[in-house]
Symmetry: none
Subunit: 233 residues, 4 copies
DNA sequence: CATGAATGAGTCTTCATTCAT
DNA sequence: CATGAATGAAGACTCATTCAT
């Protein structure tokens, strides 16, 4: 807020070059800090991460942190905003224009998200949120609204579309959407929390492959098959 | 407020009686403390829970905590031990003796665990572990070994049995087991972290019902059907 | 608040003595802390006094401070409350019952307050308030209401009484009351701020003696008076 | 908000003109900074005023402050020097040449100073000094020497002159001089610290009028005097 | 001369842990 | 065994001061 880039074009006239260098640095700072914060929040959790550590890893002093983010909590919120929201936006934009079937779209989403969660800077967020949501209800609210709500909405719409076209068996998209992402989240969390100590227990890639297979088979309509054993749960 | 001085006048009557009460209390203490710790860890996370709060909710003094648990971390480990491990044991014992089909067994497990995760004292643990695993690798290891490893092992065995008997389509139990619990964990976390702020986004019961339906349909073998569109993902 | 002395009489039965000692210490703590805070606020001002210093001078640890006062500001408020308000109460109670003339009463008050302001623990307060009133409007309000307002009210009542009885020349007590205390405040501040560096500039006792003389002469009515009652104070 | 970029386009016209403006500005800078510092010290006290705020209110950058004043403390010293000392000089010069009586001179001084203390830039100084004298003994010393000592000296000389001429009753000017300024200081402080929160408690003008009346009556000699010259101020 | 980004020492406050009673 | 007053290390945040541009 105080760091608004006022009159950005003006400086070009005089010693524009020197300004340029400064400006580039100044503009890069928030990103560097966010990257440092992301990796530390992932490793240690929100509460256990000290601002000193963030500063050190970002290569700046403690005071500089507060030049760009007014508090630790705001730093985390900014992380959520910059790391997650754009991804959701991308997918939301994808849906209406997608040419293929609903199953293909789900396949695409699961595969892509599965890849994204490998990025520590992104996988961190769900992990931290799970741990800290109770302490910071406004963060939880923000995340629930901006990320989860919209992501589930997009998925539910896809599923409902598949149901309407007869591609999927009858069900409510709202009740099925969480099933699509549940294993993705589990894998993201797993990678960050348990894979380091027990790499043998789970092979994320094999699990995700099986997830897609099982999910789409499970969504398929009855057709003329005789697999009508499972009625009510 | 929570620290109601229950039965304050009782002890005055006689030593025998008061001692009885004392003794009974004394044995109950660890359990009361664990219960208090569990609910607080759930609500606020491990780092944000103060020993003061635990003492208050347990109705004892802060010093008493340290009579039973040498540190906050040990308190948490004890919580994991007492709250989770027995449940896993119970299920592990169930598997070999179970008379029904593999699908029935999975149905039983999912339903039962789904109910269990409603108990805040138990739902807490995964949530806290996710958030704190990075800080306390030995806890993560302990939990990965004692709980996750064994739980997944049990599930994998069931699935492999179902595959062997032709009840399920060919797959590795190891790769499928996580799919059984992923939505269960998601619901447990959801209940604790986001349900309070966005109760409209998800109906846990409906999701779990759909989970069971989708999962078992997805596990079913091909039979003589023509749903052979999904080969490799 | 959390330190409520519940069931204070009960302990007498058992090891009452040991409790006694503890209790005495615990009860003395707030006073010791207030005394330390008072002297430090006097010497250095509110903002420049570190809680570390207060703790050290009070002979306790930093944490102990927060056991009794939830913040630095509350510590200061408590100081105002305990150091000043009772004195004002004492004088307010004095006025209606006083047998002598209005002049005698003013003489008594000025002399007594003059003595009181020698006590560093009390002289501190006006000094600090002057410096910090702008930062802590609620403290200023509290002090203006509880101390200044009431003190001026008492003095104004005395003066109005003197005017009514013909002992003083016609004037409004409200406009004259501040004149009574102005030199007292000046002396209090002087003692704390400038006496140490320039002890020669002013002799507080001689000034106060002259103040009394000048004030009561100045209050005397015109007329054919022989107001030679006030000799030396 | 206070930092309005006044005349932003002016400099673009020509170098000669812009340089003029610059030069004029440059000379005005110290005064602008001092004015900003004065108003802020008044409002918030010395310690609670940030150099950021001073810079902003003065309309310059933080770095510029240090171009003119090497430190916060020196800034304050300069404030004392420029705001107060000249006033005292003016009065000191007045005394020997004054044609009227001692009472008239005191009347003049009290009235003038009473007006001056309305200027926030000047009323600030005593207020701040009171609060900070303990922290900055050299400031206190400087102020006690340069301002208080000389002011009291001037007043004492006037009073001694009045005593010598029989206009005043016998007394030491040194002991009476503080009485002249005590209510003035009280009013100055009052205006800054308490008038905002309790405007009803005191009417500074009425009090000062009564002060003059009471003081001069109180200074008058006993005897068969007819010093009934002073009616209303 | 002027700027404002960067610094880091210093301060308030919290909380796990200890120990005299 | 139980208590709770006391401790002090640690962390978030502020702000006077510096210096490259």
């Amino acid at each position: 807020m105080t760091t608004s880039d006022e009159t950005p074009g003006m400086a070009e006239h005089g010693h524009g070059q020197s300004r340029r260098v400064r400006a580039r640095r100044k503009e890069a700072r928030p990103g560097e800090i966010l990257a440092a914060a992301s990796s530390l929040f992932t490793e240690k959790g929100f509460a256990a991460t000290r601002m000193d550590d963030v500063a050190q890893r970002a290569g700046v002093s403690k005071g500089t942190l507060y030049l760009y983010f007014p508090s630790k909590e705001e730093l985390f919120k900014a992380l959520v905003r910059t790391a997650i929201v754009p991804s959701v936006d991308r997918f939301a934009a994808l849906v209406p224009a997608f040419p293929g079937s609903a199953a293909d779209l789900i396949r695409l989403i699961v595969t892509t998200v599965g890849t994204i969660t490998r990025d520590p800077a992104i996988g961190a967020v769900p992990k931290v949120l799970v741990g800290e949501a109770g302490n910071f209800p406004d963060i939880a609210k923000f995340y629930a609204d901006e990320v989860i709500g919209r992501a589930l909405g997009v998925l539910a719409a896809i599923i409902d579309r598949g149901v309407a076209s007869g591609e999927f068996r009858p069900m409510l998209g709202k009740d099925a959407a969480p099933l699509v992402i549940a294993p993705l989240l589990l894998m993201a969390v797993w990678r960050h929390s348990f894979l380091p100590v027990r790499p043998d227990l789970m092979d994320p890639d094999a699990v995700l492959a099986n997830h897609l297979e099982t999910l789409l088979r499970g969504f398929a309509p009855d057709a003329t098959r005789d697999v009508k054993t499972e009625e009510k749960s």
